[in-house]
């Protein structure tokens, strides 16, 4: 069983920087970063060293207890995040962090309806799945009281929010829907509509946060501060699984009034907090958002050149920074392309909602040579699809 959506034809034997080591001895350019996790490349030295050191000194800890590590990371995140997003709930992964966000949204507002645009993908756990656009809903009824509105349609969003919804939830850029981006005016309109209706604005920055789109957070581009912000596993930089749900002080009052109503055994492991604190420092040191913007523009330009050189091969190229997407004719071609790309030394995968599109999200510290390597592999894969000799 492969969760990649295609059979890559190789297994992993480790990795470093922008590369995955394959069992067969090949070096593969990592175009997925473990689904947007390894933003600083694989095994960033300072972050790995932080885990090695922490292992000598501590362990995950008893989960409900007061801990120095949890407090330190939460304080660092509060200083790092915009506005008064200064309380944290830790999780082991995205879905859990989203479920925490949506539970708090209901708890804080006393309302039930959760609104999301179509084309979204937030994870596999109960709440996250229930708001995601999935074509494979074979596993029975989900969490009720959800509403899906057309992406970018502010009037539709206002209408649902006007009925007394608990929250509007979205990704600033939909990674699984061909890099579809919420325009600043849409985000600002949603912010206003939430304020007017008393609903909370929840942003899932699992893919877009921590530099991938050329800013620390994608919401900075619109100048919008959400009430709840989800940071995904990029927080652990591919060294430890940890995610965070950041809450505005006022929103956290719900959890403070009902302590231990939401628990996570592995979320906020003291080892994970040490890793994430070191990762956050590494992010600030490397400032990979600046490089993501520059390298992303260069890659995008190269991809457009390939597209114009090969008429009909690529329908479109989309995305921002190093969250990129290639649209092919249909799902079967997307799968064939991913397989051909793997053979040409690049790991990418079909997107989960728009299945004819292919996700390309390499390390934010990609060098120009490595970016050229990605372009060469994309070109070779398209060539293979066109029946050119390899």
């Amino acid at each position: 069983m492969s969760g990649l959506g295609f059979e890559p034809g190789f297994a992993a034997a480790g990795g470093l920087g922008a590369w995955i080591q394959a069992e067969d001895g090949r070096k593969i350019l990592d175009g997925l970063c473990g689904d947007g996790v390894c933003n600083l490349g694989r095994r960033p030295e300072a972050v790995v060293a932080a885990l090695a050191k922490a292992l000598d000194e501590t362990d995950q800890g008893n989960f409900p207890m007061i801990s120095r590590e949890k407090g330190d990371l939460a304080a660092a995140l509060a200083a790092w995040a915009p506005g008064d997003l200064d309380a944290a709930v830790f999780s082991v992964m995205r879905g859990e962090a989203m479920d925490a966000a949506l539970k708090v949204a209901r708890g804080r507002t006393g309302r039930t309806t959760l609104v999301s645009p179509d084309g979204a993908w937030y994870g596999e756990t109960g709440f996250a799945l229930s708001l995601s656009e999935r074509t494979d809903r074979a596993s029975g009824p989900l969490i009720p009281q959800t509403r899906i509105v057309p992406f970018g349609d502010l009037a539709a969003a206002r209408k649902e929010l006007g009925k007394g919804a608990a929250a509007f939830v979205l990704e600033p850029i939909q990674a699984e829907y061909h890099g579809r981006e919420a325009e600043p005016r849409y985000l600002q309109g949603l912010r206003d509509a939430c304020d007017a209706s008393g609903a909370l604005l929840v942003l899932d920055e699992t893919w877009t946060g921590l530099g991938r789109t050329g800013k620390r957070l994608a919401c900075e581009r619109a100048g919008v501060i959400p009430d709840i912000l989800v940071l995904g596993e990029a927080l652990g930089a591919g060294v430890f699984p940890i995610a965070a749900t950041l809450l505005r002080r006022d929103v956290n009052k719900f959890l403070e009034a009902h302590p231990l109503i939401h628990l996570s055994t592995f979320g906020g492991s003291d080892l994970g907090c040490r890793v994430a604190t070191a990762a956050l420092q590494a992010y600030e040191r490397e400032r990979p958002w600046a490089r993501a913007a520059r390298t992303g523009a260069r890659l995008r330009e190269g991809l457009e050149m390939i597209r114009s050189r090969r008429p009909g091969a690529l329908r479109s190229v989309a995305g921002r920074g190093l969250l990129l997407s290639l649209e092919l004719d249909d799902e079967a071609r997307a799968v064939a392309f991913c397989r051909a790309a793997a053979d040409a030394g690049l790991l990418v995968r079909p997107e989960r909602v728009m299945k004819r599109a292919v996700l390309l999200a390499p390390s934010l510290l990609l060098t120009d040579d490595e970016a050229d390597g990605i372009l060469a592999a994309v070109d070779a894969a398209l060539g293979a699809l066109a029946g050119e000799p390899t």
Binding site: M1, S2, G3, L4, G5, A11, A12, G14, I20, E23, L32, G34, D35, C38, R42, R43, D56, T58, Q60, M65, I66, S67, R68, K70, D72, A75, A87, A88, V92, M93, R94, G95, E96, D99, A100, L102, K103, E124, T125, G126, D136, A138, S139, G140, P141, I143, P144, Q145, V239, F240, P241, N252, P259, I261, H262, T265, F266, L271, L347, R352
Partner: protein, 459 residues
């Protein structure tokens, strides 16, 4: 630790995580700071007192805290591996799946690695409902399966669900241990019966052999699937590698987490039997639950954990040490019938139930004074759980028993003060109310702290 530093740690936690949680922990005398985490315990950084860890993060520390073999395996893996790529296979993932299939009961041989316990339970519910094409899940009152959306929906304590409703429809709750009640609620709409073989958070209730076998038969008769949540009970905790081995019942699905991570690196798994209707449905829906769990670092860690448990005979040790602790607790109960109502458990998953709920926080304090960190159950504050690491020696268990005996005797001295109040029904209700407890015991705690400051400040 300096007082100013101590205050800074607590204040930072209160400000940036949860001030209510700090108040709650203080009221329950559970505000320790774990340092020097080794063997069966840690040193409380606030008081400087060595503590036996009788909570083990609800069953995460079966191999002991800071287990050298597990830490060494993880440290070595850092040279090669990381959190990997979801869906991309590797040797550590293959090996762990194979190893789990080998050690799992019966023909549980298919493995999906997950990120955490809730993730695995959510995956199990999706798989069960998908494969049977049925909607209903039968869970038990006071059951605890996690906090993600579907796991929360089957949580048997309304307190956790109420503010998050409406949740997944089609869940029915029946009393744990009551086979007739289960029989009365199972129908052709039932996708699965989901239970913990020993209820943990509910307050340590052991599902006896006839109950588990009865549920197995009920599932076979009706086509419902049996899901055993062995997240707390697995990996030796109850004296067998998996609790279901006591009854010989093989479930159709089994969830694992907690101790699979060895107390250092999160890992979890869902196992299922490769039989119909599961096999066909998974073939048709191979990506029914795509998660970032089961990374290479996690798998290397878990392989070392399993080696440690099997090679050191930790399940067997849990059975022997558990019997020793059990007999000591039974003796304490016989001597203190006004305090201890019942002793329950299996292996080193033991609990004592007090006569009154309000004794929970008081006992936490009395135990802490004697160097034992023990938490009352989340879904039942009148029950104190004792889940020490499975590496404990006979001497360590004897030391723990002495501390518990002493703490119960301390309670006996307080009781003449508290009991008259507890005889008045209104006051008893108040005393047993969680929020009142936090306020009341929080207030008492502040008074105590103030007095101890005055006493300490005297020359």
């Amino acid at each position: 630790m300096r007082k100013s530093e101590e205050r800074a740690v607590v204040e930072r936690f209160a400000r940036h995580l949860n001030s209510g949680q700090v108040a709650y922990l203080k009221a329950g005398h559970l505000d320790v700071l774990e340092t020097e985490r080794r063997g069966i315990g840690f040193v409380d950084g606030f008081s400087g007192r060595p503590m036996i860890d009788a909570f083990s993060s609800a069953g995460c520390f079966n191999v002991g805290r800071g287990n050298p073999r597990v830490r060494a395996a993880l440290r070595e893996a850092l040279v090669t591996w990381d959190t990997g790529t979801p869906g991309l296979d590797s040797a550590p993932r293959r090996e762990l799946r194979k190893r789990l299939a080998e050690i799992a009961p019966g023909d549980l041989e298919k493995v999906l690695l997950c990120a955490g316990g809730g993730d695995a339970v959510d995956a199990a519910i999706k798989l069960a409902r998908g494969a049977t094409g049925r909607i209903e899940i039968l869970s038990t009152i006071k059951a605890y399966h996690g906090h993600t959306g579907f796991a929360l929906s089957v949580n048997g304590k309304p307190h956790y669900r109420d503010y998050c409703e409406p949740l997944m429809p089609g869940v029915r709750f029946v009393p744990f241990g009551d086979l007739d009640a289960a029989r009365g609620q199972v129908s052709e709409n039932t996708a699965a019966i989901l239970i913990e073989p020993v209820q943990g958070e509910a307050g340590i209730f052991v599902g006896d052999d006839s109950y588990l076998r009865g549920l197995r038969e009920l599932c076979d008769e009706t086509g419902a699937l049996l899901i055993l949540d062995e997240i707390q009970t697995g990996f030796g905790r109850t004296g067998k590698l998996f609790a279901s081995e006591h009854s010989g019942v093989v479930p159709d699905l089994m969830t694992l987490a907690k101790s699979l991570g060895g107390g250092v690196y999160p890992n979890a798994a869902l196992l299922w039997r490769d039989v119909e209707p599961l096999a066909s449905w998974v073939r048709a829906n191979p990506d029914f639950h795509r998660t970032t769990g089961g990374s290479e670092l996690a798998c290397v860690t878990s392989l070392a954990v399993i080696d440690e448990i099997v090679e050191r005979g930790l399940s067997e040790n849990a059975a022997v040490r558990g019997a020793e602790l059990r007999s000591a607790l039974d003796e304490i109960r016989l001597k203190n019938p006004r305090i201890v109502k019942e002793v329950r458990g299996l292996g080193l998953m033991l609990g004592i139930e007090y006569i009154h709920e309000f004794l929970g926080p008081l006992m936490s304090d009395a135990l802490a004074q004697r160097g034992v960190f023990a938490a009352y159950s989340g879904n039942a504050p009148q029950v104190m759980r004792f889940m020490i690491p499975l590496t404990a020696t006979a001497e360590e268990v004897a030391g723990l028993a002495d501390a518990i005996r002493g703490a119960v005797e301390d309670m006996g001295r307080i009781l003449p003060l508290a009991l008259p109040a507890a005889r008045i029904p209104v006051l008893l209700r108040l005393l047993n109310n969680e929020r009142v407890q936090t306020r009341l015991f929080g207030g008492l705690r502040r008074l105590e702290d103030a007095f101890s400051r005055i006493i300490r400040s005297r020359p």
